[in-house]
């Protein structure tokens, strides 16, 4: 079931207020098909809010979002093409890893669910832990399983919100390798990162969210031409 072949994301005039305070203020951004965009910004800049709106978990007060040729963003079938990794793993503690993934595989109506589950568990290096309840998983293992959940239906749009949070260096290195492998034609990735340096070699674009607006959005190759953004990145090494 496919809604649109293109995974280009167009956001226009997005406004989101919390308690009358605008977190996103007339935000506009276009993510090209097959791009890997790093979304950077200080704490509270609105990165999570933007990703949650794109994932359909939060509602924008104003503005328009279209994905590919589909302008009806509220269409629930659009979520078939969307994978999201947030701050929390979104799993049930009493179920095992494989039971949790099976639940999501069925929600996404995958016909070859068991095969996809085995593939994603193998991809994220969790095959040997598949029978363990989630409550026994470390934070790093939960994050890897979250990635498996987001990838199980092979989405064309991947939204990753600070996936490196509370990962130890080994788990972070593992995630680096995973992200390298996730890029492919037809898949658009938007990754929010507080410290994005480690991802600069694999990203295609960078967008700087400041005061609720995208103040810079450029290809990684043009990064050297923007001293202010360079300075911001240097501060976060």
């Amino acid at each position: 079931m496919t809604i649109s072949c293109s995974s280009q994301i167009t956001i226009q005039g997005l406004i989101k207020r919390y308690h009358f305070r605008p977190v996103l203020d007339q935000l506009s951004l276009t993510l090209d098909d097959s791009s890997f965009c790093l979304l950077i910004g200080a704490n509270g800049a609105g990165k999570t809010t933007l990703l949650r709106i794109l994932a359909g978990l939060a509602r924008a007060d104003e503005g328009e979002i279209s994905i590919g040729a589909n302008h009806n963003f509220s269409d629930h079938l659009l979520r078939l093409n969307l994978g999201y990794v947030g701050h929390e793993p979104m799993f049930y503690n009493d179920l095992t890893a494989v039971e949790n993934l099976r639940h999501y595989a069925h929600l996404y109506l995958l016909t070859d669910a068991e095969e996809k589950i085995n593939q994603t568990l193998h991809l994220t290096g969790l095959s040997q832990y598949q029978g363990q309840p989630l409550r026994t998983f470390s934070r790093g293992m939960q994050q890897r399983l979250s990635l498996a959940r987001a990838l199980i239906h092979n989405p064309s749009i991947l939204l990753l919100d600070e996936p490196y949070t509370s990962l130890d260096p080994l788990a972070a290195k593992f995630l680096d390798n995973q992200l390298h492998g996730l890029q492919k034609p037809g898949r658009t990735i938007l990754l929010a990162a507080h410290r994005p340096q480690r991802l600069l070699p694999i990203a295609t674009h960078i967008a700087w969210l400041k005061a609720g607006k995208i103040c810079q959005h450029l290809p990684i190759e043009q990064l050297a031409e923007c001293p202010e953004l360079n300075h911001y990145l240097q501060e976060r090494v």
Binding site: L57, A58, R59, P89, M90, F91, Y92, L107, Y108
Partner: protein, 227 residues
């Protein structure tokens, strides 16, 4: 898969997931059952009623214990989804969000009905009254269904607050009062041998409650859950 088949399949996935989690964790139904039994025993020993009065109060006590137990189940049901933000996982799935409402309501109905099936023989023994009537089971089904659908909707409202465990009963009990009255009156009528014709106004009220709360869930549940 046709849209309606898919919709029903999604509801079934949510119900079966809740049953699987409950079967694995056993943190909902056993607590509900123990709590309901405690209420029954406490009232029985605290009030020391005569057999005539007991017969009149049995229906009321049954429903009070069922609704308190069901509230525990509703809290457990929503905390299950809040933990690890599992609810976001459901919201991300490609389905109309009213399916989540139906799934959660039906699993809450199932768990409370299980508790009721254990409670009825206990009531029969303690209150010396045969409560294993098919018609009474129908009234319990309708009453619990209306109560859990309203509770599921209100639990979604209270989910964003820090005081959700307290807020849910505070919101739920006043709104569920008509359902409680209709359920108690219909149950009392059945136990005292009244005909269906005499009880039809209460049964109609229970049906209307179900219709109203399920319709409200279909219309508002998705909107309530989005930030």
């Amino acid at each position: 898969m046709k849209p309606w088949t898919r919709y029903l399949y999604m509801i079934w996935l949510i119900v079966s997931k809740d049953i699987q989690v409950e079967w694995r964790g056993k943190q909902g139904v056993p607590v509900m059952l123990v709590f309901a039994l405690l209420i029954v025993f406490l009232f029985n020993f605290a009030l020391q009623l005569s057999p005539e009065l007991q017969a009149g109060l049995a229906a009321g006590l049954l429903w009070v214990s069922l609704m308190f137990a069901s509230t525990l189940g509703l809290n457990r049901s929503i905390s299950l989804e809040v933990e690890n933000k599992a609810l976001d996982g459901l919201l991300l799935a490609p389905m109309d969000r009213s399916a989540i409402f139906f799934g959660k309501s039906l699993s809450n109905l199932f768990f409370t009905f299980m508790v009721a099936l254990v409670l009825l023989p206990v009531f029969s023994l303690l209150y010396d009254q045969n409560m294993l009537h098919l018609n009474l089971l129908l009234v319990i089904f309708l009453g619990v269904s209306a109560f859990t659908s309203l509770g599921t909707l209100l639990a979604a409202l209270s989910i964003q607050t820090r005081t959700r465990d307290v807020l849910l009963p505070v919101l739920l009990y006043p709104l569920a009062l008509p359902i409680l009255i209709a359920s108690v009156e219909a149950s009392r009528g059945i136990l005292s041998g009244q005909s269906k014709f005499e009880l039809q106004s209460w049964l109609f009220l229970l049906l209307a409650g179900n219709f109203l709360f399920y319709a409200a869930g279909i219309l508002f549940y998705g909107t309530i859950l989005e930030e």
